[in-house]
Subunit: 204 residues, 2 copies
Amino acid sequence: MTAKPSFLEDPSDTRGAIMRATYLALCKHGYADLTIQRIADEFPKSKSLLYHHYDGKDDLLLDFLGFMLEQQKERIPAKQSSGSSRDHLNAIFDRIFVTPIPDDYRDFSRAMVELRAQAAHDEKYRNHFTRSDEFFRGLLTRVIQSGIDEGTFRDVDAEEVAEFLLLIVTGAMTKRVTTNNDAIETARDELDAYVRRRLLADEE
Amino acid sequence: MTAKPSFLEDPSDTRGAIMRATYLALCKHGYADLTIQRIADEFPKSKSLLYHHYDGKDDLLLDFLGFMLEQQKERIPAKQSSGSSRDHLNAIFDRIFVTPIPDDYRDFSRAMVELRAQAAHDEKYRNHFTRSDEFFRGLLTRVIQSGIDEGTFRDVDAEEVAEFLLLIVTGAMTKRVTTNNDAIETARDELDAYVRRRLLADEE
């Protein structure tokens, strides 16, 4: 959900170094062509550490997905004390709808679309993406509810609107890397129009 | 984009029979575990026909995707002469947001999410999904433009709204099969709210 995370620069421990190697190998090879060996190629320490800690590629990738979710949680823009909930929502969208998309973020987004597709037939991946979506739905629900409480937003069903915003994000990320037409700016414009018409209390 | 197509009941020629076998094998095994042999297992004629016509699994699947797109085009609800463009848009959404999802449609939707994910690293798949999205964007643009012309809809940028609707559909189909939380009814309710607020000319 966010651009380049800081653990890529300077992993603080062995797990961080494994996560960094997984990120780099995933960006380079994608899911289908990824092997533990290719992750080991990006790993500066002994590769026996990888085999020792993980039962295989999917075991490692599921740990990686959990790690990335924690990274993303830490990097969510906080609400500015001087700003409204609408500004807060915009800051979150700015983090997601990076445009133009940097090459490494595109590569990572491609890999994420492939990893999410594993959830179609693998319960462990499905459990991860259920948890991940629940976290982001909760986050967006709180931002919308806070806007309702402060009088910026209409009295909508905050959770329903949050679920809808999450669909739009999922759809935008998926379309962005699976078609030749990066319509992310159009999507963002229309998302802003939706927020204006659906949420803003002083807009009729 | 639609529920069970008629070629599954009674394929009219060899290609139809191959497409039927591919559909059944894809629903049963998913993309990753699919092989030409598993497609052949669903095919009543000589399996040499499959090897004769196709260079491999992906060659066959790309032909299958093109075939399914043509099938979907034929099954799009036409505008009723007595109805408005809003009714037409609703009829199209009803076709997409089938709820509760029948088992075979869920299996097919899972496979479609996996096939779309191939587009992240395979240009041929990306070209297909670009074409497919272009078709549906064009369809939705025409429905919206027709609603503007008849005075049902506001004077919006029809193509931008169509692109946004397509994002929502892509997001909903993806989330539906990659999480344990089928929020499709919530998505549909909120989509209706969006259409009402964003498109309807007599709604302020």
